[in-house]
C-alpha cells in the first residue's frame, strides 16, 4: 500500500518522465500559460493606465483626444489577443502533450504484448491487458491537462510574492501564509482521497473486464437466459464504483470551499492589519491595496495546483500498472540460424517435456522424428497434450526439457521470424483479424490473387468467399463474426496453405467443417496441394489416414506408434478411441 507522501513523490516523478519525453511541447504550453498569467496581471495595469490617462483627464478637462481613445482600445484588445494566444498555446499544448504521451505508451504496451511470450499472456486475464493499454495509460497522463496551467500559476505566485515583499514586508508575510495553507490543505485532501481514487481506478478495470467478457459471450448469455445475472454481476461493481466516487466527491466537496476561502480570509486579515499599520503610519494605503489585490488575483489559479495534485493518485496507479507491463521480461530469445528456403522440412522432437504449472506435466518425454515430406498424426483423447505439442513445434512455448529441431536446427537457435517462414499452423480455434478476406489470408504478404484463390480452393472456401459482397475485399469484422465456425476454419486453413509451408501443422483444423467438405479438403491435401511435411492432430480416421505414422498419446506420453493399420490391430485402447463411431454404429 502506498503512502500519500509517496504518491506525491511518485506523482512528480511521473510528471518528470512526461517533461523529459516532451520537453518542447511542455515548454511551449508552459510559456503560453505564463503569458496568460502575466497578461491577466497586465489587464489590471491597463485598467489603471486607462483610469489615469483617459478617464480621469477626460472627466476633469471635459474633452479627450482620439489618439488616447485609440490607445485605450489598442491596449485592451492587444492584451486580449496576446492572452488568447497564451490560452491556445497552453490548452492545445497540454492536449498535444497528453495525446502524444498516451499514444507513445499505447504503442509501447502493445509492442510488449506482441513481444512477450505466450506464458506471460496465459498468466494475465484479457480484461486486465486491455485495461493496461487503455484506461491505465489514460490515467497515467491525466495530470498533463492541468500541468501547464499549474506551472504558470507557480510563476504567477512567485511574481506576486515578489511584488508583495516590495510593497510591505509585514503584510507580505501575512499574505504569504495563504500559500502554504492552501498547499497543506491540498495535500491533506490528497491523503484523504488517494485510497478512494486508487480503488475507483481498480474498479474501472474490473468493470471493463466484466463488460468485455460478458459481451464476448453475448450469445451464450442469451441462450442461457443469463441477462439478469450478468447485469447483476456488472451492477455490483458499478454500484461499488458509484459509492467510492460519491465518497471521494464528498471529500472534495469539503476541501474545495476551504481552499477557495483561504485567500479571501487572507485578504480580510491583510486589510485589518493593513489599516492598523496605515494608521500607525508604517505603510501606505496603496501597498495594502496592492497586496490585497494580488491575493485575490492568485486565489483562483492557485486551485489549478490542487487540480494537478488531485490527479496524482489516479496517475500514479495507472503509471505503475503500465510500467509493470513495460518492465515485464521473458521475451523469447532467438539465435542467428536460418533454414533452407524450399523443400519439405525434417522435424525431430527429442525427449521433450512441458508443464504449464510445476508438478502437473502436460507432456513427458516425447520423442519422435519425421523425414522431409512424411506425415504424422497425433491421436489421443481430449486433453492428452496434442495441442500443447503443436504449440511447442511452432515455438509458441519452449520445452522445459529436451529439444525440437527443424532440419536439424534447434528451434531456439533460429533467428526471429525464420520458423514462421518454414512452418504454418492451423489452430483448433480459428482467429481472424478485423480485416478483409485477402488480408486474413495473406497477412500482408505480397501474394498474387491467383494464389489466394488457389489456397481458398484447396480449403474449400472459394465458394462462399466468391459469394461475399466484395469477394476478397470483403471486410470480415472483428474476429470474423460474420462467418460461421466452419467458414472461419477454412479461411484459417487457406492462410496456412498460401504460404506454401515446408512443415504444416493442422490442429484438428476441420472440426467445424461437415464431412463432405472435409473429405474434399483432405482429398486436395493428399493430391499434392502441399508438399510439406505434415503434423496433424486428428480424431477422424479419414484424417488420420493422411499420415504415414500415428503417435498415440495418452496423459502426455507417447504410448504407442506405428502405421494406423498396425496400431488398430495391436492396441485395443487405440482401436477403441478411433473406432468409437463404428462401435456405436454396430451397437445401434
Amino acid at each position: 500500500m502506498s503512502t500519500p507522501t509517496s504518491t506525491l513523490r511518485d506523482g512528480f516523478a511521473v510528471l518528470g518522465v512526461a517533461i523529459r519525453r516532451e520537453p518542447l511541447i511542455f515548454t511551449v504550453s508552459t510559456l503560453g500559460s505564463v503569458l496568460f498569467g502575466a497578461l491577466t496581471v497586465a489587464d489590471a495595469w491597463v485598467l489603471g493606465w486607462a483610469t489615469d490617462h483617459a478617464v480621469t483627464p477626460a472627466f476633469r478637462d471635459g474633452h479627450i483626444s482620439a489618439s488616447i481613445l485609440w490607445a485605450v482600445v489598442g491596449l485592451f484588445v492587444g492584451v486580449a489577443i496576446l492572452r488568447a494566444v497564451g490560452i491556445v498555446a497552453r490548452r492545445l499544448g497540454a492536449g498535444v502533450m497528453q495525446y502524444r504521451l498516451q499514444a507513445h505508451d499505447r504503442r509501447a504496451v502493445t509492442r510488449q504484448y506482441l513481444r512477450l511470450p505466450m506464458e506471460w499472456h496465459q498468466q494475465h486475464p484479457t480484461g486486465e491487458l486491455l485495461s493496461n493499454a487503455n484506461a491505465d495509460v489514460e490515467a497515467a497522463w491525466s495530470p498533463i491537462a492541468p500541468l501547464p496551467m499549474a506551472v504558470g500559476t507557480v510563476v504567477m505566485m512567485v511574481i506576486a510574492i515578489a511584488q508583495m515583499f516590495a510593497a510591505d514586508l509585514v503584510l507580505a508575510l501575512i499574505g504569504l501564509l495563504v500559500f502554504p495553507i492552501v498547499v497543506l490543505t491540498t495535500v491533506t485532501y490528497q491523503n484523504a482521497a488517494s485510497p478512494l481514487m486508487t480503488r475507483a481506478q481498480a474498479l474501472r478495470g474490473t468493470l471493463s473486464g466484466i463488460a468485455h467478457e460478458s459481451f464476448e459471450g453475448a450469445q451464450v448469455v442469451k441462450t442461457l437466459g443469463r441477462e439478469a445475472d450478468e447485469t447483476e454481476r456488472f451492477a455490483a461493481v458499478a454500484r461499488e464504483l458509484r459509492d467510492v466516487n460519491v465518497r471521494a466527491g464528498r471529500i472534495r466537496a469539503a476541501f474545495d470551499p476551504v481552499i477557495a476561502a483561504v485567500p479571501s480570509l487572507g485578504v480580510l486579515v491583510v486589510l485589518a492589519v493593513g489599516v492598523a499599520r496605515v494608521q500607525a503610519g508604517d505603510t501606505a494605503p496603496g501597498d495594502v491595496v496592492t497586496i490585497g489585490y494580488l491575493l485575490t488575483i492568485v486565489a483562483m489559479p492557485i486551485r489549478s495546483i490542487g487540480w494537478l495534485l488531485g490527479e496524482f493518485p489516479r496517475s500514479v496507479v495507472g503509471f505503475r500498472r503500465v510500467t509493470r507491463v513495460l518492465a515485464a521480461t521473458g521475451e523469447m530469445q532467438y539465435g542467428g540460424s536460418a533454414l533452407p528456403a524450399s523443400g519439405a522440412a525434417s522435424l525431430a522432437v527429442e525427449r521433450v517435456s512441458y508443464a504449464y504449472e510445476p508438478g502437473a506435466p502436460v507432456l513427458t518425454d516425447i520423442d519422435f522424428s519425421l523425414e522431409p515430406g512424411r506425415s504424422v498424426a497425433l491421436v489421443g483423447a481430449t486433453a492428452s497434450g496434442k495441442s500443447t505439442l503443436t504449440t511447442l513445434i511452432t515455438r509458441l512455448v519452449d520445452p522445459d526439457a529436451g529439444a525440437i529441431r527443424v532440419d536439424g536446427v534447434d528451434l531456439r537457435d533460429l533467428s526471429a521470424g525464420e520458423l514462421a517462414r518454414a512452418v504454418a499452423v492451423v489452430p483448433q480455434s480459428a482467429f481472424l483479424f478485423d480485416d478483409t478476406v485477402r488480408g486474413n489470408v495473406t497477412l500482408g504478404a505480397d501474394v498474387p490473387d491467383a494464389d489466394v484463390w488457389a489456397a481458398l480452393r484447396t480449403a474449400q472456401a472459394d465458394g462462399f468467399v466468391a459469394a461475399l459482397p466484395h469477394g476478397l475485399d470483403t471486410k470480415l469484422g472483428e474476429r470474423g463474426t460474420s462467418l460461421s465456425g466452419g467458414q472461419r476454419q477454412r479461411i484459417s486453413l487457406a492462410r496456412a496453405l498460401v504460404r506454401k509451408p515446408r512443415l504444416l501443422v493442422l490442429d484438428d483444423a476441420t472440426s467445424a467443417v461437415d464431412p463432405e467438405v472435409e473429405a474434399r479438403i483432405l482429398e486436395a491435401l493428399r493430391d499434392g496441394a502441399t508438399t510439406a511435411t505434415l503434423v496433424v492432430v486428428a480424431y477422424r480416421k479419414a484424417t488420420i489416414a493422411l499420415a504415414d505414422e500415428v503417435l498415440h498419446l495418452a496423459d502426455g506420453r507417447i504410448v504407442d506408434r506405428g502405421p494406423h493399420t498396425a496400431l488398430i490391430q495391436r492396441s485395443p485402447a487405440y482401436a477403441d478411441l478411433v473406432n468409437a463411431y463404428e462401435t456405436q454404429q454396430e451397437d445401434a
Binding site: 481613445l69 492572452r83 494566444v85 471493463s208 467478457e213 466537496a253 490585497g292 464431412p515
Partner: protein, 599 residues
Amino acid sequence: MSTTVTAPEPVVGTGAEISAMATIRRGMQISPELRQGLGVTLLLALVATIGQVVVPITVQKTIDHGLGPQGADIGYMVRMGVLAAVAILATGLASYAMTSRLFTQAERGLATLRIKAFRHVHDLPLLTQNTERRGALVSRVTSDVDQVSQFLVFGGIFAIVSVGQITVATVIMLFYSWQLCLVVWICFAPLFLSLKWFQQRLSDAYGIVRAQVGVMLGAIAEPVVGAAVIRAYAVQDRTQARIDEAIATNQAAATKAQGFTAFSFSLGGLSGGLANAGVIVIGIWLGFAGVLSAGEVIAFAFLVTLFVGPVQMGTQVLTDAQNALAGWRRVIGVLETPAELVDPGADGEVLPRGPIDVEFRDVSFGYPGGPLVLQDIDLHVEAGTRVAVVGETGSGKSTLAKLLTRLMDPTSGSVLLDGVDVRRVANASLRRSVVLVPQEGFLIDETLRANAQWGRAGATDEEILASADELGISDWLDTLPRGLDTRVGQRGEAMSAGERQLVALLRAHLADPDLLVLDEATSAVDPQLEMRMARALEQLMSGRTSVTIAHRLTTAENADEVVVVDHGRIVQRGPHAVLVTRPGPYADLHASWVAQQAH
C-alpha cells in the same frame, strides 16, 4: 435463393442524431436520480454564487472606506469585515452542500445509466450485437459513461455557478448603468452567436473521437486475443502497424478536437478585452453627456471582470460538455436501439414443464440485406422426440437452431413451442425451458464451478459432480489438478476447444431444459469421448425434446427422425434407416461419412 430481403441492417445506434437538449432530456429520463432534488442543489448554487460575488465587493468597499483619503472608518470596516466573513462562511457551506449533492446525484444517475445500457446490450438482437465491435460496446458502458461523469461533477458545478454569476453580474451592471451593460453584451454578442457554430464543430469532432476510441480498443485487443496466431505466423510487425494506425488516427482526432476547444475558449478573453475598451470609451462619452461620473465608469470596469470570468468558464464548460455529450449520446444511442426480440414479459405465456412440442410454420429467414437462407420451412417435432438436422456447411442448419432458441425471429412465418408462437413466450420461461449448446463453448474468467453454475445458479458441488458423472466426464474432471476450483480463463487458455465443449454440456445438463438444442456441441472432443457422451446425452435427452445439428452422422443414426437441409430448404426427412436406403442427399452424405470411417 433469389429473393432478397431489403430490410436495413440493424446496427447499434450512435445517437449522433440526438440534439444536445434532447440528449440531456433523455439522459435525465433514463437516470431520474439526476433530477431528484435538483431544485435544492440549484438553490445552494445560487447562494454560493451570490457569496462569490459578495466577497470581492465587500473587500472592495472595505478598501474604499478603510483606506480612503478621509481616513479609516473603523466601525464601517468592522461591519463589512464581519459581512465578508459571513459571506465566505455561507459560500463555503453552500458550496460544500452543492458539490456533495452533485456528486451523489451524478454518480447515482450514471450508475443507473451504465447498468441500463449494459442490460440493453444483452437485450439487443444477436444480429445487432454482431454489427458492433465488442470493444466499442464495452466503451459505451465504461469510458463513455466516465466522460459524462467527469463532466457532470466538475463541469456541472462550473456550469451552474457560471450561469448564476453571469446573471448576477448582469443585474448589478444594469443597476449601475444600463447603457454600459448593453455595450458589454454587444461586445460578447459575436461570441454568443458563434457559440452554436462552434458547438456543432466540437460535437462532430468529439463524436469522431469517441468512435475512434472504440476502433482503437478493437485494434488493441488483437495482440491479446490473437496472441497465438500472431506468433505462429510471425506477423507482429503487421499487427503492430495496424495498431499504430488506429492509435495515430485516435490521436489525430483528439488533437483536432482539442484545437477547436482551445480556439473557442480563447474567444471569451478576446470579447472581454473588447468589452473593457468599449466600457471606457463609451463611459467617457456618457460622462460628457452627464450620465455617469468618473467613479462610476471605473467601478463599472471592475464589474466587467465579474462578467468576463464566468463567461470564460462557461465557454470552457460548454466545450468540455461536447465531449461528455458525445459520450452520453453514444450510451443513449445504445438504449434507443430497438431490442427487436421484444420480451412480452409479464404478459408472456409460460411454457408448461415437460417435453416441448415444436413446430416451424412456413418459416423463412434472411439476414438483413441478404438472400433468404431458410425458405418455406414446415416442420413438426413431437414432444419427446429426438431430431437430427444434417446438411452441408452453409445449408442453414445453424440458422434453424437460432430461430428455435429465439436468437433471431423469422423474416416470415412463425416458430411455435407447445403451440405458442415463441414471440409470445415470456423470455424467462423460454430460457428456462429451451437451452442451446453452441459449437464454441464460451467460458468466463472464473472457476470451473462458476462456469458450470451458469447452467443452474447456485448449483452445489454435489449437483455439478453428479451431472458430470451422468455425462460420463468425471474422469476428465479428476485429471484437473484443482478440480472445480480450476480457473479456466476467458480465452480458455487453460482449456482446449474440446474441454470448453465439455463445460458447455455440463452447463446444459445442469440447466435441465425441456427442449435441448445442440449445435455441433461435441465437434472438438475425441471420438471415444464423443460416443460416451452421446450415450450420456441420450440419457439427457430422454423425457425431453431435442434437436441436434450434427455433421457426424452417428447422431443422425440414433435420432428418431432425420431432417436434411440443403440450400435453405428441407429436402428430406424420415428415420435414418429409411433415408439411408433411398437415393438422395442423405444417402450421399452418409456414403461420404462411411467412406471417411473406412480407412
